[in-house]
C-alpha cells in the first residue's frame, strides 16, 4: 500500500470491524509548567465510507501512522473539524474508530461537514459537547464550536442532505456566514472568566476567527467578538482547520495558525492574505498527497510553533517568534512562484 500504510488497519476499518480501544478522551496530568512540550495535529480528514471513496480514509490512516511514530510521543492530538465528508452516522462512526487508533488522547471540534445532516446530533452523541476546555501543563486549552449558521433551510424546505450540501459548499449562495453564535460566545466568556489573564490560552476551532475571504465562507462573521474575549490574556494562540492550506496571522497578542488537511488542499482565495501569511507552493494536481499533511505544535512558555508536515515536500515551521517579530525573524521559506 502506498506511503507505508498498514494494510491490516485499512482493511479492518474499511470492513467496519469494531476496534477494541474506546475513543480516548483524556485525563490530563499536570506536568511541570514552562517546560517545552509537543502536541500533534490532524484536521479535515473528510472521511467517506470506503466503498464510496477510500482515499480520505487512506490519507487519515497515513496521518495517524505519522503521529503514532513521533518520538517523543505527543502529549495529545488536536483535531480541528470536518472529520467526515457527508456527516452520516456511518461516516462519523468510522471517524471515531479511526481516531481511536491514535496512541495519544485526542480533542476535537466539529466542522460543517460533520454537523448539518442532523444538526450535530450524531457528532455530539459520539464526541460530547461542541465546545469544551481543559488545562494541560499550565496552558488553558479551548475547543470552540464555530460552524453555526442562521437557518437557511426551513423556509426553503430543504431536505437534510440538501442542507448539508449547501452548508458544506464553500461558495454556496443560499446560506449566510458561519458564526460562533451567542450561546457559544456566552459559554466561552464564562469559561475564560475562570482563567487568570497570565495563563496562556490555546483555542482551536474549525473556521478562522479572523476575517478571511467571506465570499468563500472562510471565516466566522462574529469571530471578532470571540477574539475580544481572548485579548486580556498574556498570550493566546488560535488554531483552525477548514482552509486546507498553510496560513498564519497575528492580531495584537493573538497568533493564528491554519492547519493542513489530510484530504485535499484548497487554493488561496482572491482578495488577499494576512500580511504575515506565507503561501505554500501551488499543489501539484497530479499528486493526491501534495499540499496535504499533518503537523506538530511545540509549546514553550505558552508560545506555539506550528510544524506543518507537508507530505510531498519539506516540512515548514511557523514559529511564534516569526509572528511576534512581525515577520523579521524565522521567516518560513517562500514558494518559488505565487498561486495564480
Amino acid at each position: 500500500m502506498r506511503h507505508g500504510l498498514d494494510r491490516r488497519d485499512f482493511l479492518r476499518l474499511a470492513a467496519g470491524a469494531a476496534l477494541g480501544a474506546p475513543f480516548g478522551l483524556l485525563d490530563i496530568a499536570t506536568a511541570a509548567e514552562g517546560a517545552p512540550f509537543r502536541l500533534a495535529y490532524l484536521s479535515d480528514t473528510h472521511l467517506c465510507e470506503a466503498d464510496v471513496d477510500d482515499r480520505p480514509l487512506r490519507a487519515a490512516l497515513k496521518a495517524i501512522a505519522d503521529i503514532n511514530a513521533l518520538d517523543p510521543r505527543p502529549d495529545l492530538v488536536l483535531f480541528a473539524g470536518d472529520l467526515t465528508e457527508h456527516g452520516s452516522p456511518a461516516e462519523l462512526e468510522l471517524g471515531r474508530r479511526v481516531l481511536a487508533k491514535l496512541r495519544a488522547p485526542v480533542k476535537l471540534v466539529a466542522g460543517e461537514h460533520d454537523w448539518y445532516l442532523d444538526l450535530g446530533a450524531a457528532w455530539q452523541r459520539l464526541f460530547g459537547p461542541p465546545s469544551h476546555s481543559f488545562d494541560h501543563r499550565g496552558i488553558h486549552f479551548v475547543g470552540l464550536h464555530s460552524v453555526g449558521e442562521a437557518d437557511f433551510w426551513t423556509g426553503r424546505g430543504l431536505l437534510a442532505a440538501e442542507r448539508q450540501r449547501e452548508a458544506a459548499s464553500l461558495d454556496g449562495s443560499l446560506r449566510g456566514p458561519f458564526e460562533v453564535g451567542d450561546a457559544q460566545r456566552r459559554w466561552l466568556a464564562a469559561d475564560l472568566a475562570r482563567v487568570a489573564p497570565s495563563t496562556p490560552v490555546v483555542l482551536f476551532t474549525h473556521v478562522p476567527l479572523f476575517r478571511y475571504a467571506p465570499a468563500w465562507h472562510f471565516s466566522a462573521a462574529d469571530g471578532a467578538d470571540a477574539l475580544a474575549l481572548l485579548r486580556p490574556f498574556r498570550r493566546a494562540t488560535v488554531l483552525h482547520g477548514h482552509t486546507h492550506q498553510l496560513l498564519c496571522h497575528r492580531d495584537g497578542r493573538i497568533d493564528f495558525h491554519g492547519l493542513l488537511s489530510t484530504a485535499w488542499p484548497l487554493p488561496y482565495p482572491p482578495g488577499g492574505l494576512p500580511a504575515l501569511a506565507v503561501q505554500m507552493t501551488r499543489p501539484d494536481p497530479f499528486d493526491p498527497f501534495d499540499g496535504c499533511g499533518d503537523g506538530q505544535l511545540v509549546i514553550r512558555d505558552g508560545a506555539v510553533d506550528a510544524v506543518h508536515n507537508l507530505w510531498a515536500r519539506d516540512a515548514i515551521t511557523v514559529t511564534a517568534r516569526y509572528l511576534d517579530s512581525d515577520g523579521r525573524i524565522d521567516r518560513p521559506p517562500a514558494p518559488p512562484w505565487p498561486s495564480y
Binding site: C48, D53, H86, S169, L170, D171, G172, W264, P270, R282
Partner: protein, 143 residues
C-alpha cells in the same frame, strides 16, 4: 442668437461627408447590432454560464460517484485557469484542451465517467470556467 444664424454656424462646423477624407461608417446588419441583438447574445451566454455554474456544484449532474463536486476543490472556479489552455497535461502526456482537463478531474477526482466532447454538460462547464477568467490575457501553455 436667431435660428437661421445658429443653423448656419452648425453647418459650417460640421465636416461635409467625404470632405475631410473620413468616410461615413459602413452600415451592415452584422456590424450594427441593435440593442435587442445584444440582449439576445448576452442572455444566451448567461444561460449556458449559469448551467455550467450549476453543474460545477452538482455531483449527481456530473456523474460523480464519490459525492464530490468540482467546487469542493475549486471554490469560485479558483485554480482552474481557463486562460492557460491548451497546454501540456503531465498526466495525459499530451496537449490538452480545457475540456480534457475537466474530464481528467471527473474521472480521477470524482471517479465518474468522462463526458463526450459533444455533451452539453461539458460545453456548459467549459463556458462557465472560461467566463470566470474574462478579461485576462490568454497564455496558452502556462504552467
Amino acid at each position: 442668437m436667431n435660428a437661421p444664424l445658429a443653423l448656419s454656424l452648425l453647418l459650417l462646423a460640421a465636416p461635409a461627408a467625404g470632405d475631410a477624407g473620413v468616410p461615413p461608417p459602413q452600415h451592415t446588419l452584422y456590424g450594427d447590432p441593435s440593442a435587442r441583438d445584444d440582449f439576445i447574445a448576452r442572455q444566451a451566454l448567461q444561460r449556458v454560464t449559469d448551467e455550467g455554474r450549476k453543474l460545477f456544484h452538482d455531483p449527481q449532474g456530473l456523474g460523480s460517484t464519490t459525492g464530490a463536486s468540482c467546487a469542493r476543490c475549486h471554490p469560485g472556479a479558483a485554480a482552474t485557469h481557463a486562460e492557460s489552455y491548451p497546454k501540456f497535461h503531465r498526466d495525459l502526456q499530451r496537449v490538452a484542451l480545457l475540456r480534457d482537463a475537466i474530464n481528467w478531474c471527473l474521472v480521477n477526482s470524482a471517479r465518474g465517467r468522462a463526458l463526450r466532447d459533444d455533451d452539453p454538460r461539458l460545453k456548459a462547464l467549459e463556458v462557465y470556467l472560461t467566463v470566470q477568467r474574462a478579461g485576462l490575457e490568454l497564455e496558452p501553455g502556462k504552467r
